[in-house]
């Protein structure tokens, strides 16, 4: 029984890693948004599995909330806000590091996170052992996506992946913080997305571009 639980946890962690790589390996905003949606669905599944393994029923509610907010609400809002943006704002034509190099770097980041979590000397159960490195890998990959992409729109996606990683991190370490805090964080993310998407829409209108390098320049008119 114990070993079957461990197997299910390991397999679900692997699937989550694969879903995270979907964000790195594609170009174009709509592709990322779809990858993020798939990743959130997998994340909700992993959360439900954690709930099953630990036997705490509140985690199931957190899983359902994750599914509703992250895989339905946030992609819908982002699609709605960006529907009037020009198509050239939505495709990442030249990130700082090429696609193939960033895939290799992400694989190295996964290795790094496994290495780092093995250095932490604390007694832990199997949930922590299996899923903590996965959550850290998600965090690192999100950070990498954030610094690698040029447009503001794609940096929002990086932020969302980091948030997913943090969510899994807390869920693994604490086996579910109290439900109020969980709901608070989700609402926070939702509002953050709304504000940032309005902001980037206005940036696009004012500067005629969403490239972050243009934002650092002084205006010369």
């Amino acid at each position: 029984m114990e070993s079957i639980q461990l197997d299910i946890l390991t397999i679900s962690g692997s699937v989550l890693l694969i879903a995270t790589f979907g964000v790195v390996a594609r170009r174009g905003f709509m592709d990322w948004l779809n990858a993020y949606r798939h990743q959130s669905i997998v994340l909700a599944g992993v959360t439900a599995i954690i709930g099953y393994v630990t036997g705490i029923w509140e985690i199931y509610i957190a899983a359902v909330l994750t599914l509703l907010v992250k895989s339905i609400a946030i992609p819908k809002i982002l699609t709605y806000v960006t529907r009037r943006l020009d198509i050239e704002f939505k495709t990442e034509t030249n990130p700082y590091i090429s696609l193939r190099t960033s895939i290799i770097i992400s694989a190295l980041l996964v290795a790094l996170s496994y290495f780092l979590t093995q250095q932490i000397p604390f007694r832990s159960d199997q949930v922590v052992n299996v899923l903590l490195p996965v959550s850290m890998a998600q965090f690192f990959i999100g950070l990498f996506v954030l610094v690698n992409r040029r447009t503001v729109l794609s940096q929002v996606v990086g932020l969302l992946i980091i948030e997913n990683g943090l969510f899994l991190f807390t869920m693994v370490l604490t086996h579910g913080v109290s439900l109020i805090i969980e709901i608070g964080i989700l609402v926070d993310i939702l509002v953050g997305i709304v504000i940032s998407s309005i902001l980037l829409f206005r940036i696009g209108r004012t500067f005629d571009s969403l490239d972050v390098t243009n934002l650092a320049n002084l205006r010369d008119d």
Partner: protein
């Protein structure tokens, strides 16, 4: 030592790959035709093609050297030899004593090397194009392939195919998450090695983008039949490897008629299913730009790297 019956079954396994391989190609062509709303030729069409080509006369350029003439034979012999090392419906092959997975990869490389030389030999511009592209693909696919092989070999204790397949048949997939990543990498590698769609369009003969067809453009008659047949054998070997390493359900581990029959039927069903899936996938995507191909191969390399990390966890 192996008994006479085991050696006989080993020979039958090798011959089954060689004889059934055009059927798999036929199934893929039929699936592609059906997804394009065509009726398509019968699934036996590759056999008819090979028979027709053997009956035809051969035209050889007077500028070509002996390499051009021996290439189809080396191709066929190398791949047919590789076929004998593959456990098909019995968990081991008696010829496994002579060679392992690395030898199979080496034989693939030998066949590919001579195909590239033959493409360059006749000095047509198409041949040169095809050879240089094929060299690029093979140089990039090699690390991914070896990392994947090492994952499988480390997990199951050895590169000998009989050891691997016997261990796979006795184990469940669940305790080995690294095999999921190895399977993803292996699927991309199979597409690349056999020149399926995102890498190369096997149905084209008249495009500047072709890779394998560009190298063998000058062949006709018996030589073309051999080249086509060995290409089909390569596809069948790789599909059989994928099926037997990652989905070994139904394979027979003892020599009785009943289990061998079940093993054979389930193997043919699984390989056909995989072929249909690949053909369906080919219908839904277009050929990629040549310089985007490394992106796809990088995904295979990254996937097998993560598999390695998970193994040493």
């Amino acid at each position: 030592m192996y008994s006479i019956a085991e050696i006989l079954i080993g020979v039958i396994q090798g011959l089954a790959i060689i004889l059934l391989s055009p059927l798999i190609t036929g199934i893929m062509q039929k699936t592609k035709a059906r997804t394009q709303k065509r009726i398509g030729a019968t699934i036996l069409q590759p056999y008819y093609d090979i028979i027709k080509l053997i009956k035809k006369d051969e035209v050889v350029s007077d500028q070509s050297s002996w390499i051009f003439k021996v290439c189809p034979w080396i191709n066929f012999v190398a791949l047919a030899t590789a076929a004998f090392f593959i456990p098909l419906f019995l968990t081991y092959s008696p010829f496994g004593l002579a060679g392992d997975l690395l030898l199979v990869v080496g034989l693939f490389a030998l066949a590919r090397f001579f195909t590239m030389l033959a493409g360059l030999d006749v000095a047509s511009s198409f041949g040169g194009l095809g050879s240089s592209r094929e060299m690029m693909f093979s140089a990039l696919l090699e690390p991914a392939l070896f990392l994947t092989i090492f994952i499988v070999a480390l997990t199951y204790g050895g590169t000998n195919l009989s050891t691997i397949v016997a261990a796979v048949a006795g184990a469940t997939l669940l305790p080995h998450p690294q095999l999921i990543f190895a399977a993803i990498a292996m699927f991309i590698i199979v597409l690349g090695e056999t020149g399926r769609l995102p890498f190369d369009n096997p149905a084209t003969h008249l495009e500047l983008t072709m890779v394998h067809e560009a190298m063998v453009l000058e062949y006709s008659g018996k030589s073309l039949a051999l080249i086509e047949w060995s290409q089909a054998i390569k596809l069948m070997i790789l599909l059989a490897l994928v099926v037997n390493i990652f989905a070994p359900w139904g394979i027979s581990s003892s020599i009785t008629v009943a289990t061998l029959g079940i093993g054979f039927i389930s193997l043919v069903a699984k390989i056909s299913l995989l072929a249909v899936i690949i053909a369906y996938l080919e219908s839904t995507i277009a050929k990629w730009r040549l310089f985007r191909i490394p992106d796809l191969i990088t995904i295979a390399i990254a996937s097998s790297m993560i598999g390695m990390v998970l193994y040493y966890l």
